[in-house]
Every structure is written in C-alpha cells, then in structure tokens.
C-alpha cells in the first residue's frame, strides 16, 4: 500500500511539474468541442442530436493521446526495472499507475466536460448523466490503455500500434456511455447503461492489472 501511494504521489508530482501531457489531453478535448460546431454548422438541433456521441468520441481520442508515455518514460530511464523489482505485487503498482493516469487526464477532462457539452448544445438534462458516464467510463479507458501501453513497450512505432490495440476494446464503453446520455435525454432511465459501464470497469480492474503486469515483466527482460 505504501508503495502504491508513493507511486501515485510521484506520478502526480511529475504531472504537476511538467503538465504538458495533461494539458495536451485537455487542449485536444476543448479544441474539438470548439471546432466541431464550425464543421457541421451551428444548427442547434443538429448539434444537440450528435453531442453525446461527439463528446464521448472526443474523450476516447483525447485519452489515446496520453498512453504512449504511460510506461515509456519509466522504461527509458531505468525506473521500470526497479518498479518490477519492488517487493509489492506488480499488479498493484500497475493499478497505482492507472489511478495516477486517470487523476491527471480523466478527471480534468470530466471537469471541463460540462463546458464542452454547452458548446455542443447537449440538452441540459443530459449533462449529469454525461458526467456520471464519464466518471464510470474514463477509469476503464486508463486501465485498458495501460494494457496497450505495456504491450507496445520497446516496440518500434509503438505509437501507431497502440490505438489499433486499444480502440476495439473501447467500443463497448463508447456505446454504453452514449446510450446512457441518449436515454436520459429521451426521458428513459440511464441506469442499465451506467450499470454496464460500472461492470466493465469492475472487470477491467483485475484484467488490466494482470495483463499489463505480465507485459511489463516481459518488457523488463
């Protein structure tokens, strides 16, 4: 636990001292929200119709931007060897990396999501569900992204490979995230979709921990 806490603390401190990573994700998300209405035209009805889907796709793509360096820097400077050699289970340390990643990319994204939703004219009743679905879905993005990031470590052009590996895994999250918002706008209950998002997250926690840890051990060889 101590090791997990110190790893999260270190990653947060690193993100604060060189915030480019988090800012890139945020800037991408914000810029897409600004540009999209110019692209499809400013008709309120049209925007409202596509807003939930656009917001979730933007969140997915923004998250993808940040994975390549998740383990890369630790790999390059030799820290990864020491993380693998730490007495604490590597699976828990992987989860610590995911938590720190979510706190530095997913959480800021949720904070600016309401503004992006307003720009895209998402009906107000959809906003609480948008936030809830992001809250349940973005941690899963970090978890699944960690598997991909660990797998492409040491591979040449890992940055190209990574989205191909991870994108298919994101599709269920996209579908249920958007469905939850659509349901709430249509006056239906978003509960089943949100529960499914929660279930995917619950499943992704052990899966990502085990899979990414195995990939990291391989990369350390």
């Amino acid at each position: 636990m101590n090791a997990m806490r110190s790893l999260i603390g270190r990653d947060l401190r690193l993100a604060l001292r060189s915030p480019q990573e988090s800012l890139t994700v945020l800037a991408f998300f914000a810029m897409a929200a600004v540009l999209f209405p110019f692209g499809v035209g400013p008709e309120p009805q049209l925007l409202a119709r596509v807003a939930s889907g656009v917001l979730w796709v933007m969140a997915l793509l923004a998250a993808l931007l940040s994975f390549e360096r998740l383990f890369q820097l630790d790999h390059e400077d030799g820290t990864l060897d020491l993380i693998v050699l730490a007495p604490a289970p590597l699976e828990l340390l992987v989860l610590a990396k995911c938590i720190a990643h979510w706190l530095t990319t997913g959480l800021p994204l949720i904070v600016i999501a309401p503004v992006a939703a307003l720009m895209l004219n998402l009906p107000p009743e959809g906003i609480p569900v948008l936030l809830l679905s992001l809250l349940l879905g973005t941690p899963t993005l970090s978890l699944l992204g960690a598997i991909g990031a660990a797998l492409v470590l040491g591979a040449r052009r890992g940055g190209v490979l990574l989205p191909l590996l991870v994108m298919p895994l994101y599709i269920p999250i996209l579908i249920f995230g958007v469905s939850a918002i659509e349901a709430s706008i249509a006056g239906l209950t978003p509960r089943p979709h949100l529960l499914l998002l929660a279930a995917i997250q619950a499943g992704a926690i052990p899966l990502a921990a085990i899979a990414a840890a195995a990939a990291l051990r391989q990369a350390a060889e």
Partner: protein, 220 residues
C-alpha cells in the same frame, strides 16, 4: 559462437552459500551469450564480473535479479530455486543498472524517498544516504541539474535506502570521480560487513573491497 564457462567457486564451503547458480545459460535473440556459469557466494562476499562488451555481464546480473529468466540452469538463494518464489526474490535485490532511474524534475531527496517507499524502506534514511554519497548540498536540487557523476552517486544512494541483502551493480563506477569511487567502496564495505552480498560488473578495481573475479566471454 562465444562460449564461456569457467566453473567458479568462492573457496571452500565453510558456511553454506546464500546465492548459488548452477550451469546458467543465456540465449538472447537466438545467440548463445554464455553457458555453464556456476558460482556460489556466501554472506559478506563480493564477486567482480569481468569480460568484454557483449559477454553477458549485464544479462547475468539481470538474471540474478530475477528480471530475466535463464535459458537453462538454476539460481538458488539459501538453497531454494528462485523460480519458485520470484516475487520474494525480487524483494531481496538491490539493483543498480546502467541507467540511473532518476526523474529529472524531482529533487535528489524526492527521488530517493520514492525508491525508499517503493522498496518498503523508510524515507528518513534518504538523508543519511545522501550524506554517505557526498550529495548533502544537492538534496533539494532537481536531478536534471546534476552532472553525470552526481547522478551516479544519487543512484548508488538508492541502494542505501533499501534493505536488500543482494547488491547487483552494473558498472557502478560509471562517471564517478576519485571521491565518488571511495564512497562507493565504503558503502560496499559496510554492506558486506553486515552480511550482504554483492556482484559487480566493473572494469575498475574498487578500493576497500576484496572480491573474487569471474571472467565471462573467455573463448573456449
């Protein structure tokens, strides 16, 4: 094909060996790097690894750390094969690789405190470790401002905040000056005196440390 394999034993087994290997082989990318490396180390003993580039010194160290699985042979700690308990074995290892594993934006003290916590040590010891390597004035300096030699010292200080009985050092003297060399020697001497083991891949004779030598890469 490069082959090595002088059987190495560090003297008579007066006390049982803590670390023992039997006929270790290493194949990387289909190429045999070394084979039949057998060694035994008791508490308080040090071993120097010598050999030309590419003879497998780093690979052997990574194998002994449990980072790399041997292609053949076994590694035993206190008589038990480390493959049975890899997680337990990793916790025993103080590994100093070629890379210093320092985060450029964190200060020396922050870097050490992180590694101390990661290895279950206590961060108060970071201060003593910084002192022991002569970095007292640089504790609050971000690692990116350090010179190569200072970075190496900070990486060595990392070993002192962990309680690892087995030190595996890959070219620890890289970029060190005379004073740094002396301090490394002193740290090693203390470690060995308290019953620790050390295996060091180096081309430099370390002061205050007497060690046996294992030569890799001697063509058979």
């Amino acid at each position: 094909m490069r082959m090595v394999g002088p059987l190495f034993h560090s003297g008579f087994a007066m006390t049982a060996a803590r670390l023992e290997t039997e006929s270790l082989s290493c194949t990387r990318g289909g190429r045999l790097v070394f084979r039949d490396v057998s060694l035994a180390l008791r508490a308080g003993e040090a071993l120097s690894l010598r050999g030309p580039n590419g003879s497998g010194k780093s690979s052997l160290l990574r194998m002994l750390a449990g980072l790399l699985a041997p292609s053949a042979g076994t590694i035993r700690w206190d008589g038990r094969d480390i493959a049975e308990d890899r997680d337990g074995h990793r916790g025993r290892v103080g590994y100093l690789g070629m890379l210093d594993a320092l985060k450029p934006t964190l200060s020396v003290a922050e870097n050490l405190a992180f590694h101390a916590a990661l290895h279950g040590g206590e961060s108060p010891r970071a201060a003593a470790a910084i002192d022991a390597l002569g970095l007292a004035r640089l504790g609050a300096t971000p690692a990116r401002r350090l010179s190569q030699g200072q970075r190496r010292r900070a990486a060595i200080a990392r070993l002192l905040v962990q309680d690892s009985p087995l030190w595996l050092l890959d070219e620890p003297t890289l970029a060190l000056d005379q004073d740094g060399l002396a301090r490394l020697g002193e740290a090693l001497r203390t470690h060995l005196a308290s019953g620790g083991l050390a295996i060091i891949a180096t081309h430099v004779e370390l002061p205050t440390v007497t060690s046996a030598t294992l030569a890799l890469g001697a063509t058979a």
